[in-house]
C-alpha cells in the first residue's frame, strides 16, 4: 500500500507544478491535440500486477494491436501464452488457437461495460471515457497525465481508479481495482 501511494505521488509530482485542472472537455481537446491519432496501432506491453491476496506482484509481457473502434488484440506471451480479443460484440479468450471462453456483450451488460472501459482506456478514447468517469488532468509541455474516477457504482466494481500518462502516445496505464489489486502497463516499441 505504501508502495502504491509512493507510485501515485511520484507520478503526480511533475504535473502539479505544471498546470491547474481545467473543465474536462477542454482538457480532452488539449490532450487529443498532443496525441497522434491512429486508426490502428501496435506495440509491446509490459505489465505488473499486484495481487492484494498474496501481497505479491506478478509480471507479464506481450504484444498488442488495435484497430480503432473495431478490435483490440492483447497477446500475452510471457509467462503464459494467451490471446484476448475485444470487439463490440464481446470478449474472446484463446490459447494456441483454442477458445477458452467467449463472453457475449449483448447478453451480459457487465461484459459490455467491461469491454467499453477497456476500449476507452487502451485507446485513450476520451469521449468514451467521459461517459463513465470524472476526469482530472495535467498537461506539462508535450506530456500529459490524467486521473479517472468512476461515475457509477457498476464501473467502480470493475476499476476504482485509472491513471493514464503519455505524450504523442499513451505510455502508461495504472488500473486500480476495488479489491486492492492494481495493474501497471507500460507500452513500448511504438512507431516513431
Amino acid at each position: 500500500m505504501i508502495r502504491l501511494l509512493c507510485l501515485i505521488l511520484s507520478l503526480h509530482a511533475p504535473s502539479v507544478l505544471a498546470d491547474t485542472t481545467s473543465p474536462s472537455s477542454a482538457v480532452y481537446a488539449e490532450i487529443s491535440a498532443l496525441m497522434d491519432s491512429h486508426s490502428s496501432l501496435q506495440g509491446r506491453f509490459d505489465q505488473v500486477k499486484y495481487l492484494a491476496a498474496l501481497e505479491a506482484e506478478i509480471s507479464s509481457s506481450g504484444r498488442f494491436e488495435y484497430e480503432h473502434d473495431k478490435a483490440i488484440r492483447w497477446h500475452t506471451r510471457e509467462p503464459i501464452e494467451n490471446l484476448l480479443t475485444l470487439t463490440s460484440r464481446g470478449i474472446l479468450s484463446e490459447q494456441d488457437g483454442k477458445v477458452l471462453s467467449r463472453l457475449d456483450a449483448q447478453s451480459n451488460p457487465i461484459v459490455s461495460l467491461f469491454s467499453d472501459i477497456f476500449f476507452g482506456v487502451m485507446t485513450a478514447d476520451w469521449q468514451r471515457l467521459e461517459h463513465h468517469f470524472e476526469m482530472e488532468s495535467w498537461v506539462a509541455g508535450a506530456n500529459w497525465h490524467a486521473v479517472l474516477t468512476p461515475r457509477a457504482h457498476e464501473v467502480e466494481s470493475i476499476v476504482s481508479r485509472v491513471e493514464l500518462q503519455g505524450d504523442r502516445y499513451l505510455r502508461e496505464i495504472i488500473l486500480h481495482e476495488a479489491g486492492g489489486d492494481w495493474t501497471r502497463i507500460r507500452f513500448s516499441e511504438l512507431p516513431q
Binding site: 491476496a53 506478478i58 471462453s101
Partner: protein, 773 residues
C-alpha cells in the same frame, strides 16, 4: 283477515331475508373476476397439477411490471426514476422494486459453496482432460489487465466462483445499471420497475387506486418520448372491468331504457315501472349477494348474464300487472300460480343444469340465474299484491291493439301451406345443424384486447419468463429426489435447445445442484487440484505456508454442502420462488419453465420426454383448456337434448296432445337461429348452446302462460312484453365485444324473436276472443 295476515307475514319474512343477504354480501365487499383462469374447472385437473398452475398464475397475478424504454440509457433511466418517484404514492398498497440490489452482492452468498456448486460450463471443463481448460482460463484471468472481480489466488486459484457468479447472473434477466434494474434482453435501453401488489388485483378499488397513479404517469413518460410496456393481471382485470362497465352503460342502459319505454307504452303510466323494477332489482341483488357469499367473488361474465336475467324476471311481474287489470285482486295469484310454478320450474331446471358442469364460470352463472329467478318470483308473489293497493283496473288499450293484430295472424292448423313451409324450414335447419361443426377456441374465453396481450407477452419475454401455462412439473418426496430428477432431464432439454426447438429453460437444479451432484462436483475439484495446483503455485511463487493454507481451505470448502433450506434463505434463492411449487417434506414439487414459443411438435417431444418418468409431467393448461371447452360443449349439447326430453314429459303430463303448441315454437326458433348462425360462422361453441337453453326456457314460459290462461289478450300482452324485454336484455348482448357474450346474444336475438312470432301460429283455433278464461 287471516289470508292477508299470512301474506303480510310472509312478505315481511322475505324482506328480512333479502336484507340479511344483502347486508352480509355488502360486508364482505364486492370482488369482480375477469380472469380467464377463473372460468377453468376447479376439480378437473389433478390436484398437484392444479397447484402448480395456480402457483405460476399467482406469481403473475400479484406483480405489475413496467418496462420503460428509451433511445438513450440516460433518458430511459431518468424515466424509470421518475416512475419510481410517482409510484411511491402507492406505498402500503404495493411494494415497489426499482433499485438494483447489485447482482454481485446477491451471488456473493454462494462464495462458500464455490467448490460444490459449479456452473454448467465449469462442470464440463472439469470432466475433460483433468480440467486443463479451466486452468488455462484461470491463468488468463490472472494475467488479464483488468479482471473485473477480486482475485483470490489462494482461496479460489482456478476462479471457479467467477464462472459460477457469471452463470448465476446470466440467469437473472436484469442487471444493475446506474443503480436501476436494466433489462438485458432488450436491444434498446430498458429499465424495469416492479410493483408487488399487497391486495387482490381484481378488487375494483385497488384497480382504481393503482390506475389513478399509473395512467397520468404513462402519459408523462410518453410525452418524454419513452415507450412503456406493462404486464400484470391487474391491467387485464381493470381493462376487463372497464369494458364491462362500458358495455353495461351502453348495452345495459339501452336495454333498461327499452324496457321502460315498453312499459310506458303498455300501461300508459309510470307506476307499473316500479312494480316491474322491484322484483327485477330484488332478484338481481339477491342473486349477486348469494353468488358473492357462495363463491367469495363474482365473475364479470356472471354479472353480464345477470343483467340479462332482468329479462326473464320481468316476465313474472308482467303477468301479475296484466292480469290484475282484468281479474279481481284476490284471485290473481291463484289464477297465475300454476303458470308461475311451471314457468319457474322449467326455467330453473334449464339453468340449474349448467351447475352440473364443473366449470366454475358456468356454475356461478347457473346459481346466479336460478337464485335471481326464484328471488324475483318470490317478490312478485309476496310483495306485488301488497304494493299494488290502488285499484287501477280495466282492460289495457295495448292488450287490445296486440290482440287485434293477433286476430289477423294465421293458424297453423288452418293453413297447410304455412305448415308445409315451416316443416321444410325446420327440416332444412335440422339438416344444417346436423352437419354443423364445432369450433372450440380458447380465444373465446379471452376477454383482454389483443394489444394488451401482445404488450404483456413482450414484457414477459424480455424478462425471459417462460410460458406460465406450459411447463414441466417435477415432484418427489424430497428436494434431493426432485433435483436429481431435474438433473436427469437437463441433457434432453439441452439437446432440444441445440436442435433450435426450445429457446431455453429455467430449472432450479441449474442453480441448486442435488447433494449427489455436489458430491461429484467436489470430487472434480479435488482432481483439478491434484492435477494443476502445483504448476499454479509455482507460477505464483507461493510460499510453503501459502500452499498448505490454500489446500486446507480447499478441503474445508469441498466438504460444505448447499442445502435447499440454506438456498431458500438466501436473497438469491428468493428470485427462484416461481420455480418451487411446494417445499413441504414428503411433498416437494418444482417447475421447469420453458422459454420461447412452444410449437406443437415441441410439445409432443416434451410429452414424450415426460411420459416414461413417473415424477415428471408436461403441463399444457392452454392446450387442455381447448380440450375442456370441447368436452363441455359436448356435455351441454347432451344436456340440451335431455332438457327437451324432460320438458316434453312434464308438458305431456299436463297438456297431453296439446304439448306441441308449447314446445314447437322454441324448438323451431332454436333450429332456424342455430342453422343461420352456422351458415354465417365457422363453427359453433359452448356459449351458443347455452343461448339455446335460454331460448327454450323463455319459449316454454310463453307457451305455458298462453295455455294456462287460454290465450287471453292480457296474457298475450304479458308474454309479448316479457319476450320484448328479454330480447332487449339478452339479445343486445350480440353487440358485446366480449366473445362469450357475443356468442350468447347472437343466438338469443333471433331465437326469441322467432319464438314470439311462431307462438301465436300454434294457438288453438277459435273464432273469437275468450277474455277472462
Amino acid at each position: 283477515m287471516n289470508g292477508l295476515y299470512i301474506n303480510r307475514l310472509a312478505a315481511a319474512i322475505w324482506l328480512l331475508l333479502v336484507a340479511i343477504l344483502l347486508f352480509s354480501a355488502w360486508r364482505q365487499g364486492p370482488v369482480v373476476d375477469t380472469s380467464v383462469m377463473a372460468l377453468l374447472p376447479a376439480d378437473e385437473q389433478q390436484p398437484n397439477i392444479k397447484r402448480a398452475t395456480d402457483h405460476q398464475a399467482d406469481a403473475y397475478a400479484n406483480s405489475l411490471l413496467l418496462v420503460i424504454r428509451g433511445q438513450t440509457a440516460a433518458e430511459a433511466a431518468e424515466g424509470a426514476r421518475h416512475a419510481a418517484e410517482r409510484l411511491a404514492a402507492l406505498a402500503g398498497l404495493v411494494n415497489l422494486t426499482w433499485h438494483a440490489q447489485g447482482a454481485e452482492a446477491l451471488v456473493e452468498d454462494l462464495y462458500p459453496y464455490r467448490f460444490t456448486v459449479l456452473s454448467e460450463t465449469v462442470r464440463e471443463r472439469l470432466q475433460q482432460e483433468g480440467g486443463s481448460a479451466q486452468y488455462q482460463l484461470a491463468l488468463q484471468r490472472l494475467f488479464n489487465p483488468v479482471s473485473g472481480f477480486s482475485q483470490q489466488p489462494l482461496e479460489d486459484p482456478f476462479s471457479l466462483f467467477v464462472d459460477l457468479a457469471m452463470a448465476q447472473q446470466s440467469k437473472l434477466p436484469v442487471g444493475a445499471d446506474q443503480g436501476l434494474l436494466r433489462l438485458i434482453a432488450s436491444e434498446m435501453p430498458a429499465y424495469l420497475v416492479r410493483l408487488e401488489l399487497l391486495d387482490d388485483p381484481f378488487s375494483i378499488s385497488v384497480q382504481a387506486r393503482v390506475n389513478a397513479v399509473l395512467n397520468p404517469l404513462l402519459d408523462e413518460l410518453q410525452q418524454r418520448g419513452l415507450s412503456v410496456y406493462r404486464s400484470g393481471l391487474l391491467l387485464h382485470a381493470s381493462a376487463g372491468a372497464d369494458q364491462a362497465r362500458a358495455e353495461i352503460s351502453t348495452i345495459g342502459l339501452g336495454s333498461i331504457l327499452g324496457i321502460l319505454l315498453l312499459i310506458l307504452w303498455a300501461f300508459r303510466s309510470v307506476v307499473p315501472i316500479l312494480h316491474v323494477m322491484i322484483p327485477v332489482a330484488t332478484g338481481a341483488l339477491v342473486a349477486m349477494a348469494v353468488t358473492l357469499l357462495l363463491f367469495g367473488r363474482i365473475h364479470m361474465i356472471t354479472i353480464a348474464f345477470g343483467a340479462g336475467l332482468v329479462g326473464v324476471a320481468v316476465d313474472y311481474a308482467m303477468h301479475f300487472l296484466c292480469e290484475v287489470r282484468v281479474v279481481p285482486r284476490q284471485q290473481v295469484i291463484r289464477r297465475l300460480l300454476p303458470g308461475l310454478v311451471l314457468g319457474l320450474m322449467s326455467s330453473v331446471l334449464a339453468y340449474a343444469g349448467l351447475a352440473l358442469a364443473p366449470f366454475p364460470g358456468l356454475r356461478q352463472m347457473a346459481i346466479f340465474s336460478a337464485v335471481g329467478l326464484v328471488a324475483a318470483w318470490l317478490t312478485v308473489l309476496l310483495w306485488l299484491p301488497l304494493l299494488s293497493t290502488r285499484r287501477s283496473t280495466g282492460p289495457l288499450p295495448a292488450a287490445a291493439t296486440l290482440d287485434r293484430w293477433r286476430m289477423q295472424y294465421p293458424y297453423i292448423t288452418q293453413s297447410p301451406r304455412l305448415a308445409l313451409v315451416l316443416i321444410v324450414l325446420g327440416v332444412c335447419s335440422a339438416a344444417v345443424v346436423f352437419q354443423g361443426s364445432a369450433r372450440d377456441q380458447v380465444a373465446l374465453l379471452q376477454t383482454s384486447s389483443a394489444d394488451l396481450l401482445a404488450e404483456d407477452r413482450q414484457v414477459q419475454s424480455l424478462l425471459g419468463n417462460g410460458s406460465s401455462t406450459a411447463f414441466l412439473l417435477v415432484s418427489g418426496d424430497s428436494f434431493e429426489q426432485v433435483l436429481q430428477t431435474e438433473e436427469g432431464l437437463q441433457a434432453a432439454l439441452g439437446s432440444l435447445i441445440a436442435d433450435n426447438q426450445l429457446q431455453g429453460y429455467r430449472a432450479l437444479s441449474q442453480v441448486l445442484p442435488s447433494l449427489q451432484r455436489q458430491e461429484q462436483n467436489s470430487q472434480h475439484v479435488r482432481a483439478l487440484y491434484d492435477a494443476k495446483w502445483h504448476s499454479m503455485a509455482d507460477l505464483l511463487n507461493l510460499s510453503q505456508r501459502q500452499r498448505s493454507a490454500a489446500l486446507e481451505s480447499m478441503y474445508e470448502s469441498t466438504r460444505g454442502r448447499l442445502t435447499p433450506q440454506a438456498w431458500q434463505a438466501m436473497t438469491l434463492g428468493q428470485t427462484w420462488t416461481a420455480n418451487i411449487v411446494s417445499s413441504e417434506p414428503g411433498d416437494v414439487a418444482t417447475v421447469i419453465q420453458l422459454q420461447g414459443r412452444l410449437s406443437s411438435e415441441l410439445k409432443q417431444q416434451l410429452m414424450a420426454l415426460a411420459e416414461p418418468l413417473p415424477n415428471v409431467v408436461f403441463v399444457d393448461s392452454l392446450g387442455s383448456m381447448t380440450e375442456l371447452l370441447e368436452r363441455y360443449r359436448a356435455e351441454i349439447s347432451n344436456w340440451l337434448l335431455l332438457a327437451y326430453a324432460c320438458v316434453l314429459v312434464l308438458l305431456v303430463l299436463r297438456y297431453r296432445f296439446a304439448s306441441w303448441r308449447i314446445l314447437l315454437p322454441p324448438l323451431l326458433a332454436s333450429l332456424i337461429s342455430f342453422a343461420a348462425f352456422l351458415l354465417l360462422h365457422d363453427g359453433y361453441n359452448l356459449f351458443n348452446l347455452i343461448a339455446l337453453m335460454l331460448v327454450l326456457g323463455i319459449g316454454l314460459d310463453m307457451g305455458i302462460f298462453l295455455n294456462e290462461t287460454r290465450e287471453s289478450a292480457h296474457t298475450w300482452l304479458a308474454v309479448t312484453l316479457s319476450s320484448a324485454s328479454s330480447l332487449l336484455a339478452f339479445g343486445l348482448l350480440a353487440l358485446s365485444q366480449t366473445p362469450v357474450l357475443y356468442h350468447f346474444g347472437v343466438i338469443v336475438l333471433p331465437g326469441l324473436l322467432l319464438t314470439w312470432l311462431l307462438a301465436p301460429l300454434m294457438r288453438e283455433f277459435s273464432t273469437g276472443e275468450t277474455d277472462h278464461g
